[in-house]
Symmetry: C2
Subunit: 240 residues, 2 copies
């Protein structure tokens, strides 16, 4: 089988920098982790916060620190650096080959969807962002790495999409429809959800939007790891 | 336009861990960097070295340190940690949106190919691996971010492929043929070169093999960043 991870990410309309930061890092004992942080507000200030948080988490994960401990450390670090005045939402999604599980760490009120077989579960229990208090704990879910499992994580830009027109993104229904296909590619799932969110914001995203879809594909594979990155540079010359 | 990066990576035959480490990191002033290190020998020891080197480099790049300075720092760090007894090959490939250039940093005797228009250039000047002496300097090339530019970087596993049967991988000719297509996808280029190297090693790679292909695509794009990771887990249960 194969673990497929897809990411799609866009900025708030007319903002050159996204306040969301996402990095993928190899786990020292096997597997990968995706770390996604959304800094309070948007633009350059939010980017500095989300980058600081993600760097802290990936450097700890790379040293073999467990996901929950890394999230707590990032919270304490942000609390100390910014005197508790700035918050960030944090999600860590790990495919841990050592334990044979998917580990979902959540410091984010935005829900997470987990699909296994016909069942789609929504992880939406209370969960507070990091950085605003001492002793903030993440909500952690651990599920076994099974064929056909899908996990969808996103930032609040998608959750609030459509608010201007009193509509909202129905991730669960869209996901159900997408998963009815034979082994859908996670990039297709991510792109479809993001496109729908942008449509609800009438083509002008009201906030930074990032979405991560992980899928355990049952297909037979060669033993080759692959990665593709696509970075549009529409505004290179305005930056020079 | 769009920057496309593709990676393909496989282990030495019958080795569960690759000595090559590759990470992609966002640059704080815009753009991305790909950091590829190949630790001396193969297996767990080599992995520890290449991981150490890549971590050091990405944490420096994330702080805004220039690529050349990050490579030198990684060399001094490895030299100090391992008393100059262990070497690693290091390549950094950056799409720097601040300067509007591709920056290629090389501490690796393995050549790098750069294609612009009809011309394919091979960067094969002398370049020593890091970690074995003080004051090791990288070879740095900087080229402007132009439509149609392609860069191909790989580890010595590809360079030495076919040695058992007295053949070798002709990257330049293969690349020429691949680039004759209309805007070829870098994943296709990476996959084709890796498949050919594995074929030359008669299906059993004689060393870890990693290949990175970056291409500046002239295609119009939406403003969405995308990333896909594919991680085969053929040996999950043997690891548990």
């Amino acid at each position: 089988m194969e673990i497929l991870i897809a990411v799609a990410k866009t900025n708030k309309y007319a903002t050159s920098e996204s306040g969301d930061t996402l990095e993928v890092v190899e786990r020292p004992n096997g597997g990968v982790s995706v770390v996604l942080a959304d800094g309070q507000t948007s633009g350059r200030g939010a980017k500095a916060i989300s980058t600081m948080v993600v760097r802290k988490v990936i450097s700890l994960l790379a040293e073999g620190v467990r996901d929950g401990a890394a999230a707590r450390a990032a919270s304490d670090y942000l609390f100390t650096e910014r005197n508790g005045k700035v918050s960030a939402c944090l999600n860590i999604l790990s495919a841990d080959l050592q334990s044979g599980t998917l580990v979902i760490t959540r410091n984010n009120p935005t829900p997470i969807f987990v699909a296994q077989g016909e069942r789609i579960e929504c992880l939406s229990g209370e969960s507070s962002p990091i950085g605003t208090a001492r002793n903030i704990r993440p909500a952690i879910s651990e599920i076994s790495l099974e064929n056909g499992t899908s996990v969808v994580i996103y930032t609040d830009g998608l959750m609030h999409a459509g608010e201007r027109i009193n509509q909202s993104l129905d991730v669960c229904t869209l996901l159900e429809a997408l998963l009815e296909e034979q082994d859908p590619h996670p990039q297709e799932i991510a792109d479809t959800l993001l496109a729908e969110a942008i449509r609800l914001d009438q083509g002008r995203p009201n906030d930074d939007m990032s979405i991560v879809v992980l899928r355990v594909s049952p297909l037979e594979t060669d033993e080759i790891r692959r990665m593709t990155v696509r970075l549009p540079i529409t505004n290179l010359y305005s930056k020079l």
